[in-house]
């Protein structure tokens, strides 16, 4: 289950230059939602939009391409996208909801469908769940500390953040690039991430991340019948350029390696929690 169930996997990027400009990687999320919106496959999508504070995401229900574009790019701190899941069907009146999120958020979406305890009339309205790969996440204050204290950049001057090649990168509007080893960021990670057993959004309809694909491209797993259908239609409509994953470097081996590392490390944490105290342990949510 390291990479989850999937029907196909490719390297891809959006064919739309406008989307690619502000996208984190291959613009898969923004492009696929834009296509689904245009085709009526979704009525809107819950994405991590901008807020009043720099780099602090605010979940929004995007019902236009402009709103999708405004939400492009990775914010390495918490965007509680699932908080809008029921609201999207109420105040926004969506019958077909798109949602993007980390693997844990995809887990929340599937739990909401199978155990809709506080999600009246929501289960059938999830039309497209796009998952992003995720090693860990940070609180807003952590990102502030990482960028301002360690990278020595003002948050508001940063135009892009990235994690790759063992480093955390902050790019600024004046062209400066700050990078620090990931080692430094570890202590700032969100504790809840240390019990997380999914790297590549196993439960999404389509999941994507940068790892495995060349710069500017994304690795894309198509996982469910719903995902397969949308993806095939989007390809047929010319939304994406694709490459066989076997032909790109570093390819699936790296994805598998990182996924295995994450799951093994976090499983150890879970095991250690069981005997954290003296004759007492901490909760395991997976039992």
């Amino acid at each position: 289950m390291v990479l989850g169930n999937y029907k196909s996997v490719v390297a891809a990027r959006s064919a739309d230059k406008e989307i690619l400009k502000g996208a984190q990687d291959g613009g898969i999320v923004t492009q696929l939602f834009a296509y689904a919106l245009e085709e009526g496959i979704i009525d809107g999508a819950i994405v991590a939009g901008p807020s009043d504070e720099p780099w602090k995401p605010e979940p929004v229900v995007a019902t236009t391409k402009a709103e999708l574009l405004a939400a492009r790019g990775t914010k390495y701190n918490l965007s509680p996208n699932v908080a809008l899941l029921k609201e999207a069907t109420r105040s926004y009146g969506l019958d077909k909801v798109g949602i993007v999120g980390t693997p844990c958020q995809m887990q929340a979406v599937r739990k909401a469908q199978l155990y809709p305890i506080g999600m009246r009339d929501v289960p059938d309205k999830i039309a497209l769940a796009i998952g992003i790969f995720c090693m860990e996440n940070f609180s807003y204050q952590s990102i502030e500390a990482i960028v301002e204290d360690h990278c020595n950049q003002k948050l508001e001057s940063v135009t892009k953040m990235d994690i790759g090649k063992g480093k955390f990168w902050a790019y600024t509007e004046r062209g400066a690039v700050s990078q620090i080893p990931l080692k430094i960021t570890h202590k700032y990670e969100q504790p809840g991430c240390h019990v997380c057993l999914d790297y590549v959004s196993n439960l999404a309809d389509v999941s994507t991340g940068s790892v495995g694909a060349p710069d500017g491209w994304s690795t894309v797993f198509v996982r469910t019948a719903v995902g397969d259908d949308v993806w095939a239609k989007a390809i047929a409509a010319g939304c994406f350029e694709t490459k066989d994953i076997a032909d790109v470097k570093p390819g699936l081996d790296l994805v598998t390696k990182l996924a295995t590392e994450k799951i093994t490390k976090n499983q150890k944490t879970l095991d250690a929690r069981a005997t954290f105290g003296v004759g007492k342990g901490l909760r395991n949510p997976y039992l």
Binding site: M1, N5, P59, N77, L78, S79, P80, N81, V82, A83, L84, L85, K86, E87, G101, T102, C104, Q105, Q107, A108, R110, K111, A112, Q113, L114, Y115, P116, I117, G118, M119, R120, D121, V122, P123, D124, N137, S139, Y140, Q141, Q190, P191, G192, C193, H194, V195, C196, L197, N202, L203, T224, A225, L282, R283, P285, Y286, L287
Partner: protein, 253 residues
């Protein structure tokens, strides 16, 4: 068609919202009643005046300690039903009735309301105010598979129902504070926002990625904690979401 399971709706101190939710499955309700479940007891719907023997009792509402007939009825339900389900926040956790203090026209002496778990053992909880039509439907289908299905179906139904049975063992008090105690204080919250979506009274907002509960608003329905992916998450069931969704759809067609 294999024989149906027998189901009853036992109505204690609740607002009938749980029953309405059950009915809000619309055609689905008829499908359930036609093929899978015989409704053997339900005020206003079934002309039976006394709690009969049944497979599954769906109990709505809390027990008023000053109302002898309520106390008798919950005890009798436990004796006559194989499986007792606390349907909704009041039966499971007391919910809004926790705040009752008597003095209400026309029974001012009635002031103590407790969730059914304070008087009897309960097998399974369906939290929420109101519980959702889809959650009631899923439990009904799984209960049917558990009692009448093939071995494989029994296994699936057992895995599905286990967390809801564990909730019944966990206790009969719940509120937004459980997120604090059992998720955040335990180092498990990852800021997904699900709890805020689940709360029927919007008592939860997400501040800087973590839930903040307005305890004056919380009615103690238990939905937020039960819906949180870090309260329970059974990989066996959730990884099969596509198959199970299809199964439920197929069963309801």
């Amino acid at each position: 068609m294999v024989e149906k399971i027998t189901v009853g709706h036992v109505h204690l101190s609740g607002c009938t919202g749980c029953l309405v939710s059950f009915a809000d499955n619309y055609e689905g309700l008829f499908k359930i009643l036609d093929n899978y479940a015989e409704l053997v007891y339900a005020l206003t719907l079934v002309d039976v005046r006394h709690v009969p023997e049944m497979d599954v009792a769906l109990v709505e509402g809390s027990v008023c300690l000053q109302d002898k007939s309520s106390v008798d009825e919950i005890k009798e339900t436990r004796e006559k039903a194989k499986v007792v389900v606390a349907l909704g926040g009041c039966a499971a956790y007391g919910n809004i009735t926790r705040f009752a203090r008597g003095g209400q026209w026309n029974q001012p002496q009635m002031e103590s309301y407790v969730p059914i778990g304070e008087l009897i053992d309960v097998d399974l909880y369906i939290p929420g105010c109101a519980p959702t039509p889809q959650q009631i439907r899923n439990v009904a289908i799984m209960a049917y598979l558990l009692l009448k299905g093939t071995d494989e179906q029994k296994e699936l139904a057992t895995a599905y129902l286990k967390p809801l049975m564990d909730l019944a063992k966990r206790g009969d008090e719940a509120c937004g504070c459980d997120l604090m105690y059992d998720v955040i204080n335990q180092g498990l919250c990852m800021g997904c926002g699900t709890c805020a979506a689940a709360c029927p009274v919007r008592a939860i907002t997400i501040e800087y990625g973590k839930p903040n509960v307005d305890r004056d608003l919380c009615i103690k329905c238990g939905a937020c904690y039960a819906q949180c992916p870090r309260s329970f998450f059974n990989f066996d069931v959730m990884n099969e979401f596509e198959g199970i969704t299809e199964l439920i759809k197929g069963v309801m067609e």
